[in-house]
């Protein structure tokens, strides 16, 4: 069992920031475990979601921002829907991932690369371009054999376009990203 010295490691500022950014009151969690019971991702998590909530109450910033669970949460909304205290737990998970990203922490390399490839595609074309997205993911991660077995299944169906379906004015969407960066959101 891990023993945490709260006087030494409790980061009150971190708790306040998560509460502010997620709009959720972390202290409401009474550890019933409903969120974890319904979470389909517990089998790949290093910290189950009710423990994420507990560690959050204890202000354990470093442990949380470096855990894998926050990258693997699929935002399936089971926890949020079933929490008896109406905590939007999925929003808390999202918020922790935003913070980890801003601090340059990334424990699930492939997941972050996928997200980045997706958004780059949207920034460039205005729409997600599936083929380009896969190629960009492979370039980022060096995983050359990603889904190569699916090619003979999907290519003859004529569903994967080799060229992006751009919007008429991709610059309008690129501008959203540009302004977002300029605002330097913290």
């Amino acid at each position: 069992m891990n023993v945490i010295s709260l006087t030494a490691s409790r980061d009150l500022d971190f708790i306040a920031r998560v509460e502010k950014e997620s709009g959720q009151k972390v202290s409401l969690c009474y550890q019933c475990g409903n969120c974890t019971a319904g979470c389909p991702y517990t089998f790949v998590y290093d910290i189950p979601v009710h423990q994420v909530m507990r560690l959050l109450q204890a202000g354990q910033k470093q442990t949380l921002l470096s855990c894998r669970s926050i990258w693997l949460c699929a935002t399936c909304q089971s926890c949020t829907t079933r929490c008896p205290n109406n905590i939007d737990v999925a929003h808390v998970m999202d918020t922790l991932r935003h913070m980890a990203r801003r601090e340059g922490q990334d424990t699930e390399y492939g997941v972050k690369s996928f997200v980045d490839s997706f958004l780059e595609s949207v920034e460039k074309n205005g729409r997600a371009f599936e083929m380009g997205l896969l190629v960009s993911f492979i370039m980022k991660t060096g995983r050359f054999w990603t889904d190569v077995d699916l090619a003979p299944k999907i290519l003859p169906k004529g569903k994967l376009s080799p060229l992006p379906h751009k919007v008429k004015n991709p610059a309008a969407i690129a501008k959203i990203f540009e302004r977002f960066r300029q605002e330097g959101h913290k």
Binding site: E130, I176, F180, E183
Partner: protein, 300 residues
């Protein structure tokens, strides 16, 4: 609000690619049911789940651009989309933008501010609420009698209920009702709202193999001939990845995974070109042929 069934339609990026047949069958079914779809002019990506994992303002701005464009269309009663992931983004943005401070932050990123004047619904919700199951029945051209289906809604079509505001969040029934209306038989399917593995197929295939594997196992166990879905990502995980799932889990599923609009379209007599049944990876041909044979035997 308009009395006509005229909608601002948001096709979503996958409708241009991996879920083409969902888009074409949706358009054809809506037309057959008297719903007029007007594509949102120059719509762009709603941000899907990647955007909200980076920042909620960015995500709401990407979705919000489309809400603002839809608001320019005249005489439409709602924005509708076939894809639950797009639906979640559009609806979540619309709900969050009700807060003026958040709206101000989002509008700063946009050329044209969102006014939030139109309701956002899934195509499924619009069919159920605005057309109605009873209006579908008299239009049936071919009954899907004897077709046993596991209705799979996916995790976010109905959750969280405060945002999605449609059907039941633990046991949704909209697709069950529509399939029953055209003569098919929904089987019990307790995993209706469980996650299929979402977009982790590429980065962590093991996750999809486990979660979608469970769905296929449960559908087979409960005697389904096929699964029926309303989500491009769920459909792709279950259909395109079925062989990957089979080899990882040592199973031998050969379970067709339809979009509900394909089956509805089949019953309404819509042609093969729009339904795109040949675009499914697990071929439904043998199943549909045996259904015909069953129906003929019954008639003869």
């Amino acid at each position: 609000m308009s009395t006509r069934l005229r909608y601002a339609y948001y096709p979503g990026c996958s409708g241009l690619g991996t879920s083409k047949e969902y888009d074409t069958s949706t358009r054809a079914v809506c037309q057959a049911l008297g719903m007029e779809l007007v594509d949102i002019p120059d719509w762009s990506c709603c941000g899907s789940s990647p955007a909200h994992t980076v920042d909620h303002r960015l995500s709401s701005a990407l979705a919000g651009r489309n809400l603002a464009l839809a608001e320019m269309l005249e005489d439409v009663r709602a924005i509708i989309t076939p894809c639950p992931s797009c639906l979640t983004n559009l609806k979540t943005a619309a709900v969050r933008i009700r807060k003026p401070e958040f709206a101000a932050e989002v509008n700063r990123l946009l050329d044209k501010p969102v006014r939030n004047t139109l309701p956002v619904k899934s195509v499924l919700q619009a069919i159920i609420e605005d057309v109605g199951v009873d209006a579908v029945r008299p239009k049936v051209f071919k009954w899907l009698t004897g077709l046993k289906l596991a209705p799979y809604y996916g995790c976010i079509m109905n959750r969280p209920p405060e945002i999605m505001e449609f059907d039941d969040h633990e046991n949704p029934v909209a697709m069950d009702q529509l399939m029953e209306a055209v003569g098919a038989e929904p089987v019990a399917f307790p995993l209706k709202v469980e996650c299929c593995g979402a977009s982790y197929g590429v980065a962590r295939r093991d996750i999809v193999q486990t979660l979608s594997g469970k769905l296929l196992d449960m559908a087979a166990l409960n005697g389904a001939d096929a699964m029926v879905t309303a989500c491009p990502l769920c459909q792709m995980n279950l259909d395109l990845r079925q062989d990957q799932i089979n080899s990882a889990n040592k199973t031998s599923h050969n379970m067709p995974v339809f979009y509900f609009t394909q089956l509805l379209g089949l019953a309404l007599g819509i042609g093969e070109k729009d339904l795109g049944l040949s675009k499914l990876c697990v071929s439904p041909k043998a199943l549909l042929d045996s259904l015909e044979a069953r129906a003929e035997r019954k008639a003869g």
